[in-house]
């Protein structure tokens, strides 16, 4: 739950050329680190896709909306249980793992789908590097 919403950028991220460019660079670098990355997306907290990688695997717009709901529900659970800030969301399925996390300081979420050739630990560390990179590029 986002009780204190992050400040709204002057322009929505999905329309902001600087954010779109930074997003494309971030995801391309992420792909270089992991060939098991089958799909990745950066989205606004309210579910608008900023950019995606490997679009053939999923409907980007719909995935962004769902990621945004999942992120908010997970935050709500962490809030309800008073267990501090929600750092990652992991959906571990038979044929792939979805890992989601926030880009610190921005109302932006990174969501990545890895195939099961990647261990969860490696996926997490790559996702963390990418989120930090995105924050750096749009700081």
């Amino acid at each position: 739950m986002n009780l204190t919403p992050a400040p709204v950028a002057t322009m929505a991220s999905h329309l902001n050329p600087v954010h779109i460019d930074a997003g494309n660079r971030t995801l391309a670098e992420m792909q270089d680190l992991a060939s098991s990355l089958t799909f990745a997306s950066l989205l606004t907290d309210d579910g608008f896709e900023i950019v995606h990688l490997n679009g053939t695997h999923a409907d980007g717009g719909r995935f962004a909306s769902m990621s945004s709901s999942v992120q908010a529900l997970s935050d709500a659970v962490a809030h309800e249980l008073k267990i501090g800030t929600n750092e990652y969301v992991i959906i571990a399925s038979e044929l792939g793992h979805v890992i989601q996390l926030r880009v610190q300081g921005h109302p932006i979420v990174l969501a990545a789908l890895f195939d099961t050739h990647e261990t969860l630990g490696k996926g997490l560390s790559i996702a963390r590097i990418a989120a930090r990179r995105m924050a750096e590029l749009i700081a």
Binding site: R62, A72, L73
Partner: protein, 191 residues
């Protein structure tokens, strides 16, 4: 203790989250995110998954209140939550462009719930825009489905008493339907 599940639906900014916060006796579960679509509704946050609250109405009846996101991009949440509900409280903001057509569109999105449950319409923000009138909405609803009578009220979601009246009307209607035609346990449905 009997229990009901009621769904709050309607366009972005019609006051679903506000209404549930006015009514709920428990801390509401909310999933607000920073709103980037300021054109549709000029407000800080928007619901991206659900609102959840609870209210006990006559000491023996507990009502679970679920709110959905108004934006159509989140319609998978509509399907998930509509499957649990037997009552629909549809809020329509009177200042929305072409709000009568918009109401019919939203009602149609929840037609499965409508066909097996009860519906009440709440027209909000009539202090912001005084047209159309309740009669205009009623006429359109009757034209769209002549065999059904759907009650339409004006309401301010910020006002707990007004919301309570609306909710009681809906719950009475749900109970009436259950008496007339006991329904099987709610199932997950596709809108």
């Amino acid at each position: 203790m009997s229990e009901h599940v009621v769904l709050f639906a309607g366009p972005m900014g019609s006051g679903k989250t506000t209404a549930i916060r006015s009514l709920s006796e428990i801390d509401v579960v909310s999933t607000e995110a920073t709103n980037t679509d300021r054109e549709t509704a000029d407000k800080e946050t928007t619901t991206v998954a659900l609102d959840y609250g609870e209210i006990t109405i006559d000491d023996v009846t507990k009502v679970r209140l679920y709110g959905v996101p108004g934006q159509k991009r989140f319609d998978f949440m509509w399907s998930i939550l509509a499957g649990r509900a037997r009552g629909l409280l549809l809020l329509i903001n009177n200042d929305a462009p072409d709000s009568v057509a918009l109401l019919l569109e939203y009602l149609n999105n929840f037609r499965d719930l409508h066909s097996r449950g009860a519906v009440v319409i709440g027209v909000t923000k009539s202090d912001v825009s005084d047209a159309p009138s309740v009669a205009d909405y009623s006429a359109a609803l009757t034209a769209a489905s002549p065999d059904q009578l759907i009650p339409v009220f004006t309401v301010d979601p910020r006002n707990a008493e007004e919301m309570r009246t609306l909710l009681l009307t809906l719950v009475a209607s749900v109970e009436m339907r259950e008496l007339l035609a006991p329904a099987p346990a709610p199932i997950s449905e596709k809108i």
